[in-house]
């Protein structure tokens, strides 16, 4: 009971802090960082759903986000569609494209070949964007995409993204703890055994692609309305590697891992801007250190601390 309360209290404390943060003298800059954290946690958590839970080695999830972002951006900017519609549409369009273009062919592939297919998928998007300059803005990208509501300030965007963050994490939590989540893990652990126990591996695999891309595409929609622009640099190597780092660093295949990883990467990356050109080098060193001492990621570090605290509490109880 003790450790449940302790963890629960910590989680509530963190959430209350995030909720009150704009009132505690947050600068526009730190609110911006939190918005990035909310969105990238969602991208990382959905990527983890595919890679960590379902064991599908997708390397294309940044592409899912870009499709969602561009869909929402174009709809809002060129057609004047309001954001409460563009975001779900972004999710649905992304899910449809990804499920058809990647999910269906991926049913016939496994392991590294899925990684290659998804990587190529994401890699073709920048050239596709420059070919469709009139609509997508080409290499320049889309700018001045309308915010969630007219006259929105950083605090407004902060709260909208925070709510989205909570809703999506709740959905992922429910998926992971449902029979569907169990099927994902079962197929990852032993595909043929799961198949012979009645798990329809094709349907469950398609579900992974559809769900993960739906929520990632919606996150792309949130991104453009919160920040106002998107360009092919989003599909560059740095966001790609940083998001993978969030998952690996936080703890692959765990619920909280990618969120912790996103926190470390988003805030660490910004903090390290102080170091100038050494930023990525130091970030790399940080990742190496954590992976070296805690191969299970930050979540493993948390578990270690948890055990220490529990032992401490247990040691004290008999003496008092």
């Amino acid at each position: 009971m003790k450790h449940v309360n302790w963890k629960f209290a910590l989680a509530v404390l963190v959430l209350v802090f995030i909720l009150l943060y704009p009132w505690l003298g947050a600068s526009s800059y730190t609110k911006h960082l939190f918005i990035l954290f909310f969105i990238w946690s969602i991208v990382a958590a959905n990527w983890n759903l595919m890679m960590g839970y379902a064991g599908i080695n997708s390397l294309g999830n940044i592409g899912f986000m870009a499709i969602g972002g561009y869909t929402a951006g174009i709809l809002a900017k060129s057609l004047g569609v309001p954001p409460f519609l563009t975001i779900p549409i972004a999710g649905i369009v992304t899910s449809a494209v990804v499920t058809l273009a990647l999910g269906l062919p991926a049913l016939r592939l496994s392991g590294i070949y899925i990684a290659l297919l998804t990587l190529i998928f994401a890699d073709t998007l920048p050239s596709l964007l420059t070919q469709t300059r009139e609509i997508t803005g080409g290499a320049m990208g889309l700018h001045e995409i309308p915010p969630f509501y007219p006259g929105m300030d950083k605090t407004g965007a902060y709260y909208i993204c925070f709510v989205f963050f909570l809703v999506v994490l709740f959905i992922i939590y429910r998926i992971v703890h449902s029979p569907t989540g169990m099927a994902f893990v079962a197929l990852r652990d032993s595909e043929n055994f799961a198949y012979c126990l009645g798990v329809n591996k094709f349907r469950e695999r398609l579900k992974v692609f559809a769900l993960s891309s739906l929520l990632t595409g919606a996150a792309g929609g949130m991104y453009v309305h919160a920040l106002g622009d998107i360009s092919p640099t989003t599909l560059g190597i740095e966001p790609f590697l940083l998001t993978i780092a969030m998952i690996e660093l936080g703890g692959v295949g765990t619920f909280l891992g990618p969120i912790l990883g996103a926190a470390v990467i988003v805030f660490g990356n910004e903090f390290l801007r102080l170091a100038g050109t050494l930023r990525l080098t130091l970030l790399g060193a940080l990742i190496c250190t954590i992976i070296l001492f805690y191969p299970g990621g930050v979540i493993q570090l948390f578990h270690t601390i948890e055990h220490r605290v529990e032992r401490l509490l247990n040691r004290k109880t008999p003496t008092t």
Partner: protein
């Protein structure tokens, strides 16, 4: 209840199974033996839909199930275990059974019934990766049973177990057969065990039927002795 007719399977130029026909009756324990590489596991993989057969047909309860997918075959009531001890190693013992119960039987409570039947309550929350070989095999058997199968196919379930564990396992197999009325096909190297457990058996050699008939008479069969037992019952005795 179950039959194959002229079942063949080739991988390229390699013929793994050739014209294998046999029938299993409702409620019996049917044995399959044969030297390494005889095609026993391939036969299981073809029957359960992991590989499609090159030719031949498979029937279950009067229905032609050739080319059915593994999950469909499971839903019809055929479950299996694997030669290599296989579980969902990150899931708990209970969740391993639940995969079979929810997806195979579509009846969640069958996981609880199997947990009790196999006496796995003590380890129900333990991750499957932290189990000894015997318990791992019980969990694999349990997940298959939780699908509410009518026919259970066991691929060398006793390999690597101690004599005491083998006897325990055999007891469980008999109970599943008698109390739950599950028909069983079992692959086993040790002929003595198979003779005591089954009434009829099939011996495969080079993918073909070497012997099909009464288990008691298998050691008297000239060809079995020649090909499988190696003269004076060599392999069977060596295993003892």
């Amino acid at each position: 209840m179950f039959a194959t007719k002229g079942l063949s399977k080739s991988f390229g130029r390699l013929t793994a199974l050739l014209n294998v026909s046999f029938e299993v009756e409702e409620g019996e324990i049917f044995g399959i033996a044969g030297p390494n590489g005889a095609g026993k596991s391939t036969l299981f993989n073809v029957i359960t839909g992991i590989y499609p057969p090159s030719s031949g047909r498979i029937f279950f309860r009067g229905k032609d199930i050739t080319n059915y997918k593994p999950d469909q075959i499971c839903h019809l009531g055929i479950a299996r275990t694997f030669q290599i001890p296989t579980t969902f190693h990150t899931l708990s013992v209970y969740d391993n059974l639940r995969v079979g119960a929810i997806f195979g039987a579509r009846r969640p409570q069958s996981a609880d019934e199997v947990l009790e039947l196999l006496g796995l309550e003590a380890v129900r929350h333990r991750p499957a990766r932290n189990l000894d070989l015997y318990t791992t095999k019980l969990v694999m058997l349990g997940a298959a049973l939780a699908t509410d199968c009518k026919l259970l196919m066991l691929d060398e379930p006793m390999a690597g177990l101690s004599m005491a564990e083998i006897n325990q396992f055999l007891e469980i197999v008999r109970r599943i057969n008698q109390e739950k009325g599950v028909t069983i096909i079992i692959i086993e190297h040790l002929l003595d065990i198979l003779i005591s457990l089954t009434k009829r058996m099939l011996i495969l050699s080079d993918g073909q039927v070497l012997y099909l008939g009464d288990s008691k008479e298998v050691t008297a069969d000239r060809r079995v002795v020649e090909v499988y037992l190696g003269g004076k019952g060599g392999i069977a005795h060596a295993h003892r």
